[in-house]
């Protein structure tokens, strides 16, 4: 056995321990938290534009069409994926019992990632947009993403290859899955679509969009949950074998579900049916994960009162269950006929990306940052407030959009109602969406301030 510590904990490390440098994890986490805050401002602005469409006038770079892709890409790649990568740089060396293969390569990856995100801000605001969902970035930034991902994947895989134990914990499996799957999902979505036209192009794009969530954010997010729930609760995972069932069933099922975005569209009926069938099969990996993590917490739920990371983690898992119950259900043709293309979909997507995977990443950040910098968290109370702001705001946002989306879908199915009337009717929904967005943004500000104050050592300054 060899105890493991972060370099910043130098004063209390016993002799013979494995000391991790963690420079890469630090760079990724600090930059991702900063982007979370900045892109949060964009989120509030575009929510406000639903209520006041004339807000910010006609300045082209502040129009909805430019801010919305910036919000989506900023949250997905600037905040969430970067935070998950930072957490992977923290977790994988510890689970492997070795140092990260190359901290220099890791820091270079973090620098390149920041160049990409800043490039995305400039190009998207300037109106350079490929016009595909989640693949809006211009091709030259796409190439940089591929280079950065190769650097990340190489570092992770080489670290795993030099591991001390033959048996790999499930988090390592999920992280390796994310490295592999992201490679082909991103290449397909951002490059193969360049050479297609019409329905095939749309089908490839939706394959990418759905698997961006299912094969990029899901595996790395679940890897984070599988590591931090046992660590934060100090309780071993209920069943490693069950976690393997979840991993392999996810690997088998997820990639086929993208076409359910085109149900009732111009694609073949057999392809739609396959997408529906595999969407329903998603309940297998989802239930394997949720049951395992809930069983891990058996007899330990009281710890949620004291632990903010556990609050975020278990809420994220509940949202994962709800998201992945919704997904298969609205892939059914009858349900899809009502909710497809309505406000239901952003409600569902926000529950997945914010309610589930961002909650898991926030938990990991709250857990690791005090260890990485060797300082206590700036404020436990503020962390607790950030949880409740994000939870209350998130619930208001999700439920309002589901109800509004269903209402919108019923109206669209009634051809006697003019389309503009269905837009006007949703204004009360969008007001609640905006207010909920404000609450979520306050939660983000509290989280970002807490993390950055911890990093800057504000606690020590206050004590002095």
């Amino acid at each position: 056995m060899q105890a493991q510590f972060s370099k910043a904990e130098g004063g209390v490390v016993p002799a013979g321990s494995l000391v991790h440098d963690d420079a890469t994890a630090k760079w990724f986490l600090v930059s991702s938290v900063t982007y979370f805050f900045i892109v949060g401002i964009i989120a509030v602005i575009i929510a406000a534009k639903f209520v006041w469409p004339d807000l910010m006038g006609t300045m082209s770079w502040l129009t909805y069409g430019r801010l919305r892709p910036l919000h989506v890409n900023g949250m997905l790649f600037g905040w969430l994926l970067a935070a998950d990568m930072g957490l992977a740089y923290y977790i994988i060396p510890r689970l492997c019992g070795v140092k990260l293969w190359s901290e220099k390569l890791g820091v270079a990856t973090a620098a390149l990632w920041n160049v990409i995100i800043l490039g995305a801000v400039v190009t998207l605001l300037a109106g350079q947009n490929q016009g595909w969902e989640y693949a809006e970035l211009p091709w030259y930034l796409d190439i940089l993403v591929v280079v950065a991902w190769i650097m990340f994947g190489l570092n992770i895989l080489m670290t795993v290859a030099s591991r001390k134990h033959q048996a790999m914990y499930v988090t390592i499996w999920y992280t390796m899955g994310c490295v592999l799957w992201t490679a082909f999902v991103y290449l397909t979505g951002n490059f193969a679509t360049l050479f297609t036209t019409g329905t095939n192009q749309a089908n490839l794009n939706w394959m990418y969009v759905h698997n961006a969530v299912g094969l990029i954010f899901t595996p790395i997010g679940l890897g984070v949950a599988y590591y931090f729930i046992p660590r934060a609760s100090n309780t071993p995972l209920y069943s490693h074998k069950l976690s393997m069932v979840g991993f392999w069933s996810l690997a088998f099922v997820y990639v086929w579900t993208g076409a359910h975005h085109m149900i009732h569209g111009p694609i073949s009926q057999w392809l739609q049916t396959i997408a529906i069938a595999f969407s329903l099969m998603l309940l297998i990996p989802v239930w394997a994960v949720v049951y395992n993590l809930f069983a891990t917490m058996k007899g330990q739920w009281h710890q949620l009162r004291e632990s903010v990371p556990l609050k975020f983690l278990m809420s994220g898992i509940v949202f994962y269950l709800l998201t992945c119950f919704q997904g298969p259900m609205h892939s059914l043709r009858t349900v899809n006929a009502i909710v497809s293309k309505t406000d239901w979909i952003p409600g569902h997507a926000h529950m997945a990306v914010l309610g589930c995977f961002s909650f898991l990443a926030i938990a990991g950040t709250y857990f690791t940052v005090p260890k990485l910098w060797g300082k206590p968290l700036f404020s436990e109370s503020l962390a607790n407030w950030s949880y409740w702001m994000l939870m209350i705001g998130g619930l208001g946002f999700f439920t309002t959009l589901w109800l509004g989306g269903f209402w919108q879908g019923w109206q669209w199915n009634n051809w006697s109602i003019p389309f503009i009337d269905t837009v006007i009717a949703l204004k009360p929904i969008w007001i609640v969406r905006f207010v909920s967005g404000i609450l979520m943004f306050v939660g983000i500000v509290m989280f970002a301030y807490n993390i950055l104050a911890t990093v800057m050592g504000a606690n020590e300054e206050a004590a002095a």
């Binding site: 060899q2 510890r94 048996a167 679509t193 100090n234 309780t235 490693h240």
Partner: protein
């Protein structure tokens, strides 16, 4: 088909990626069986983080 329409080559390109990832998945799945993830010692991996990380394990 127009000379600039690369629909079929690109779809086959995507199929190639699917095929490669499918082969890798099959390889790793078979290897996971060989490495004992489904046998008697399949639960060992979950205790490693408690044995080696800085927090002592509560429930062995």
């Amino acid at each position: 088909m127009a000379p600039t329409d690369y629909t079929y080559p690109s779809v086959y390109f995507a199929y190639l990626f699917f095929f490669l990832s499918f082969c890798l998945a099959v390889y790793f799945f078979i290897r996971s069986r060989r490495d004992g993830y489904w046998g008697d010692k399949g639960e060992d991996a979950k205790y490693q983080m408690f044995e080696e990380d800085e927090t002592p394990r509560r429930n062995p």
